[in-house]
């Protein structure tokens, strides 16, 4: 039963979605509405899973004084700071997302710089990668390299200064050959995912239950 019930749930819910697509009237339409809303609520809970395992892992690290436990402590304190300020904001303003709350303040001056700088780091690495690894080793690599250079120059104002038709060339690359390849990939991927979806619905593919 531990396998059959989930398989039945998957099949029935998927079937409701498909039938209600073709027959959006009662009772299928409302069955769809209810299922979609329930889905959203359940999906909301999944966040908690990740948070718990993260906090658990680092608490253990602190308790056992493993190497780098001080950083784990920083992590836990950061976590606590947001939970506490969010709770206080909820009590004071009715919502953590009130623009006056300390929660929003901490978001602006902690999460924003931390996350955006973390991603800005990549700019340096991509520049150094372009220098070290981007080599015209064969025809395909050369083609990739030339396209990248044309697009990089064609999509910035300096390209326009160099040659007024540069932006048009870059736009043509994007809209014709690039687009055609992306469409080919897109069609291929969606045919693949269609097949996988059908296999899941019919219970042939069960790896998601393990």
């Amino acid at each position: 039963m531990r396998r059959e019930i989930p398989l039945a749930i998957t099949f029935i819910t998927a079937l409701i979605m498909i039938v209600s697509f073709f027959i959006p009237h009662a009772p299928f339409g409302s069955m769809q509405d209810v299922s979609l809303k329930w889905y959203s609520i359940i999906a909301g809970f999944t966040m908690l899973l990740g948070v718990d395992s993260l906090i658990h892992m680092h608490s253990v690290k602190i308790k056992r004084k493993k190497e780098g436990w001080v950083y784990s402590l920083v992590l836990i304190l950061g976590f606590a700071l947001f939970v506490i300020s969010g709770t206080i904001a909820g009590i004071r303003f009715g919502s953590a997302m009130d623009i006056r709350s300390s929660f929003m303040y901490l978001y602006t001056y902690m999460i924003v710089p931390l996350q955006s700088t973390m991603f800005a780091l990549l700019s340096f690495f991509i520049a150094s990668a372009a220098y070290r690894a981007f080599r015209a080793r064969n025809m395909d690599a050369t083609l990739l390299l030339i396209t990248a250079v044309l697009v990089m120059l064609g999509r910035v104002p300096v390209g326009y200064q160099m040659w007024h038709s540069f932006p048009a060339v870059a736009e043509w690359i994007m809209a014709v050959p690039q687009m055609a390849a992306k469409r080919g990939i897109l069609i291929g991927v969606s045919l693949g995912s269609l097949a996988v979806s059908l296999r899941i619905m019919l219970g042939i593919e069960r790896s998601y239950l393990s």
Binding site: D52, G86, V151
Partner: protein, 208 residues
């Protein structure tokens, strides 16, 4: 907000920004501190929003104020999702996963046909009349889509005509990857511009 708090906030943000950038020199305690703080604060944020933007408005409020008892069902499914924490009853979480997977696949089956396959194939069935630039572009598009698809078609050996078409497909794919690389460079640099602007405009007002 008091000016003091804004100044404090900007200095704190500047410190955190520099702490992360310090990784460029080499890995160091400042970077590790900022990295862990990032993960911790994000997790705290997630917990708070899950309550204020999911559980409270979608469950607690409608149940307590409008007595929508039916919502106890998704609440139950949501809670049993958390049984993964307890190995003995972890199998229960499969019910919730099965429900979400079922909805996801059901939507994907109709969605990918209606929203992707049909319009994208329709977009490839384009006119080829008259000798002009548009016709040439359309021809290049049709050939490119077919060639790319052929490259990904592995049920037939890539030999002879099929092989040549697949090879042409690689050419198209290389152009697409090159373009994507160029765009990725663009994106990453933009993020750096954003941080530089913060450091030298908001923090140290060098940029007017």
């Amino acid at each position: 907000m008091h000016n003091f708090w804004v100044i404090l906030g900007v200095w704190m943000a500047a410190f955190l920004t520099l702490a992360i950038f310090s990784f460029l020199y080499k890995d160091n305690p400042f970077y590790k501190f900022a990295e862990h703080l990032y993960v911790g604060t994000s997790a705290g944020y997630m917990l708070i929003y899950t309550y204020f933007l999911v559980i409270k408005p979608m469950l607690i409020d409608p149940i307590s104020q409008e007595h929508q008892w039916i919502l106890l069902i998704p609440a139950f499914f949501g809670v049993i999702m958390l049984t993964r924490w307890f190995p003995k009853i972890a199998w229960l979480s499969r019910w919730s996963i099965a429900f979400t997977v079922g909805i996801g696949t059901g939507l994907a089956i109709t969605g990918s046909i209606q929203g992707l396959l049909v319009p994208q194939i329709k977009g490839t069935l384009i006119a080829l009349h008259g000798w002009n630039g548009a016709t040439l572009n359309n021809l290049l598009i049709i050939i490119g889509v077919i060639a790319t698809l052929t490259y990904f078609y592995f049920s037939k050996e890539h030999r002879g005509f099929v092989g040549k078409t697949a090879k042409l497909g690689i050419t198209y794919i290389m152009i697409a990857f090159g373009a994507s690389f160029g765009y990725t460079v663009m994106a990453r640099i933009s993020l750096l511009i954003g941080r530089m602007y913060f450091l030298f405009h908001t923090w140290i007002p060098l940029i007017k």
